[in-house]
């Protein structure tokens, strides 16, 4: 049930771009993206919903391919503040038409160097 993220780690120089991928073996209702700084709680970045709606960050974009059950997070012109671990979370159905739960991938560690 846990989504799979790739790559596990990325090292960038300031200004470079990165793509982080998230895939699931289950049909997805939505995909969440969070960033966690060392020693802190995860912080919400954005949500992608079936049908293409996005909610979240102005400077970070993402895509959601429902058929392929995949999502990608695009970090462009990276800044030092982008460093951290990025987690994708997926909402899956637990019972037919019933409640859902949010499960996370193992994370992608992004390091942005000057």
């Amino acid at each position: 049930q846990q989504p799979v993220q790739s790559p596990q780690a990325v090292i960038l120089r300031e200004g470079e771009d990165a793509v982080i991928n998230c895939s699931s073996s289950k049909a997805l209702y939505s995909v969440h993206w969070y960033r966690q700084k060392h020693g802190e709680a995860p912080v919400f970045l954005m949500i992608l919903l079936k049908g293409g709606e996005q909610k979240g960050h102005d400077k970070i974009s993402a895509s959601f391919n429902e058929k392929k059950q995949q999502s990608s997070l695009y970090l462009t012109a990276s800044q030092l503040s982008y460093s951290g671990t990025y987690f994708c979370g997926t909402e899956i159905a637990v019972t037919q038409g019933g409640s859902e739960k949010l499960v996370f991938g193992k994370g992608t560690k992004l390091t942005v160097n000057p």
Binding site: H32, A41, E53, F87, L102
Partner: protein, 114 residues
């Protein structure tokens, strides 16, 4: 707004001791979650609740118990602590799932079992 509040922030337990990690949210959210995060690892779902009186197991429930007697509170009980339960525990809440609502995280409880 206080958001999601976890207590304590740090705790050292001896093997075999028990304790309760407290989690309270003041946003009237229906969904609440407990995750554990081992060093360098992702967030693993322990238990979750979709409303007062309703709880269900997540990915790694063994050694833990929960209750949800009120909308606000979702305590996590550790019985007979073991070194394998050394981890950082995060509580999170969301209004619902499936329609693009983010999860709000507490600041975490760092637990060491010796």
């Amino acid at each position: 707004n206080a958001g999601v509040t976890q207590t304590p922030k740090f705790r050292i337990l001896k093997i075999g001791q028990s304790m309760t990690l407290q989690c309270t949210q003041d946003m009237n959210h229906n969904y609440m979650y407990w995750y554990r995060q081992d060093p360098g690892m992702g967030l693993k779902l322990i238990y979750y609740s979709v409303g007062a009186g309703i709880t269900d197991k997540g990915e790694v429930p063994n050694g833990y118990n929960v209750s949800r007697s009120t909308t606000e509170d979702f305590p996590l009980r550790l019985e007979l602590a073991a070194p394998s339960q050394t981890s950082v525990y995060f509580c999170a809440s969301s209004p619902t799932t499936g329609d693009g609502t983010e999860a709000f995280f507490g600041q975490g409880t760092r637990l060491t079992v010796v």
